[in-house]
Symmetry: C2
Subunit: 411 residues, 2 copies
């Protein structure tokens, strides 16, 4: 259960930390000219070949860069660089798109002097347009990488599309007496739903861990973090979360038998949850973060299903935007989920304000509720009183600006 993380004293947040905080990583970003006057091409490089793990969109239409990245990782389980562009998703671009993604990988590998399969490729932007490969090629040539704060910022801005703010985080924990760091950078603001829709997440860590165990850890953590955010219920063709672990922290190799394996899992969870919440908060047009906690479900899985149904409901999202304590819409969202629900035992609260107990409305202070809903972060609590299952989800409100942004994204 995610809530426990915040009590976890072992995990320390490093303010202003990011993908360059773990030792041995460099990065950079450049304006390749894929869009107007903004960084649009970036790279993360490890000084040494690294273990790696990735999770991908569940869309039937996986974009070309995802196929190429999977080929890279499958070959040896080792990565040393990631090259990313925004503006063009290179999705639904057929054989040409696949060749373009291979070419992008090859250009980055040549520049760095790495084996091609040690390089991953990611893209985000408009679907169905072809890559402008001359600009990509020139951009990769001009791209410089380094270890300073503005190198991190250059990378972080290069991966954004409709995002308003950069997303970064860094956490550390002591493992085998050594300090292990995980840093992260992400993009994503619209099309964020179940399975990492239109989001890219990149994590760097100095932990010593094999690709096999890193993959298992990432998959588990993704289910309770990235897969629990929703902005508009749509999933994209390009979503990917990718971790490189270069071993610079010199801890003993992490695996499920390591006594501090749970600490590493917490560290990874905290990092992914931080990025996930930053993405939800920066949802297109969002004015508020909505955090939904469901308890008393038959299982954790069912609690997460219900939490995400609530966080994803347009009616809940517009009510939160309008600061209207319309808990009937929360009931509506719970009612339509496939999870087990007893229609007579449900409690609902907004923050501290209980509105429904045993499925029966109880009187509450309307003005107090309205005030609470004006906050930057709104918490919805649901207790089903059926079992021990708990889960959380994050979303954002639905505003006029969401419509404005999405009625004219492409043009």
């Amino acid at each position: 259960m995610y809530q426990a993380l915040t009590d976890q004293k072992l995990i320390k947040e490093i303010h202003n930390g990011g993908i360059l905080t773990p030792e041995g990583f460099m990065c950079g970003g450049v304006h390749a000219g894929l869009r107007y006057n903004k960084h649009d091409l970036g790279m993360i490089v490890s000084e040494t070949p690294s273990s790696c793990a990735a999770v991908y969109t569940t869309s039937h239409f996986q974009a070309a860069p995802l196929l190429v990245t999977q080929e890279s990782i499958t070959q040896e389980g080792v990565l040393q660089a990631i090259v990313v562009n925004s503006a063009c998703a290179n999705a639904c671009t057929g054989d040409q798109g696949y060749l373009d993604a291979l070419k992008m990988r090859s250009l980055a590998a040549s520049k760095l002097g790495f084996a091609e399969h040690h390089v991953a490729v990611a893209s985000t932007g408009v679907i169905g347009e072809f890559m402008q490969m001359e600009k990509i090629e020139a951009g990769i040539k001009r791209l410089t990488i380094g270890k300073r704060a503005d190198d991190a910022e250059a990378f972080q801005t290069a991966i954004l599309t409709t995002d308003i703010v950069m997303k970064q985080c860094c956490y550390s924990a002591e493992i085998d007496g050594m300090t292990v760091h995980i840093g992260g950078a992400a993009k994503g603001s619209g099309m964020i739903h179940p399975n990492m829709a239109t989001m890219l997440g990149f994590l760097t860590t100095d932990a010593v861990i094999s690709s096999e165990h890193l993959s298992a850890a990432l998959k588990g953590v993704t289910n309770t973090t990235f897969n629990q955010i929703t902005v508009d219920g749509d999933v994209s063709t390009n979503d990917m979360v990718l971790v490189m672990a270069n071993g610079a922290a010199a801890n003993k190799p992490l695996n499920p038998d390591h006594p501090e394996w749970p600490v590493f899992l917490e560290l990874l969870k905290e990092s992914c949850a931080s990025l996930a919440k930053q993405i939800a908060r920066d949802g297109e047009g969002a004015t508020k973060l909505i955090e939904v906690s469901v308890a008393g479900a038959i299982s954790d899985d069912e609690a997460r299903i219900i939490a995400k149904k609530i966080a994803g409901s347009n009616l809940v999202k517009t009510a939160v935007y309008g600061a209207d304590a319309n808990w009937g819409r929360i009931i509506g969202a719970i009612g339509q989920s496939q999870a087990t629900v007893n229609p007579k035992t449900v409690d609902i609260a907004l923050g501290d304000i209980t509105m429904l107990q045993g499925s029966t409305p109880i009187a509450f202070d309307e003005n107090g509720a309205k005030d609470y809903l004006m906050n930057d972060k709104v918490q919805i609590f649901v207790d089903l009183h059926l079992g021990d299952g708990k889960g959380m989800a994050w979303g954002c409100d639905l505003s006029y600006d969401y419509v404005k942004i999405n009625a004219s994204y492409r043009t």
Copy 2:
């Protein structure tokens, strides 16, 4: 497959017809004071005890009136009246709500001199508030029923909430040489998704048919009509479609062995599809009807799943609102469906304008596409090239006004 209906010459539309067009029905509506200055209580009455059938919301939280209506129908399979109110959904109102729904049924039955279980009850409006039973009681007393056009209009307006227009339809067909009519009235504009969310549909027919066969017909037809409309992906606690068949047309009893059974099914489908499309077109804040046709799926079920995914995608809906021919969002919606898809064989067209063939973008006239998207009705065609499965779904665009209406519905 639904498309065939429109070629069906046997079915005649009766312009300006509605629930009073079939012989032997009366109705009315009144301002009971549940809301400001608008009809809010209505009734449909059959001159004779009628066969009946109903389908209900799949929400875990079925509102009290649905439970009472199910009790009425289960007892004998006969109805003679339906009493409906708007403004208050009588949902999540516990034992008191159930007693209120029983009382509403009993008041209507007394007024009409019918057995209580010959009366059905329906409600729509805000969830979690108790019924103002004194107003209901006084309203039922004052309610008059008749057979004129303004009686039909009084009923049709009494059932509306955020709807802008009344929904009504009437169709007829020759069966056994007799003219059989089906008339309909409906409400519903927000919270319209899969399973008839926040919609009420009432159909009257003079056909001779048992409740058993009418139920089977209604269930099948609902799957391709009412269950294929989506406004905002939310489902409600109160949705119900109810049919009364009084037998005034004097055809031979309809059942699957009757040679003209398919004609009756077409008649019922046409009626339900008409109401469903009127509801989608009148979605909260909608400026356009979106009609999605999917062909080439593994099965009709899968085609319908994909069609509804597309019609329900916020990103597709905002793109249509903004007249942006962003077919990448259609791909996004198809990609995330659970249905079988070959990512290399998909065609997409907007109206006559093909945009994707074999999953590869083809050049099209951007201005022509923009013009097409300014129409009042936008058709999206998808061919998966996998099998013979076909299906349709209907939705509407997502506008600023959707947000405006829903940010402050309750207050």
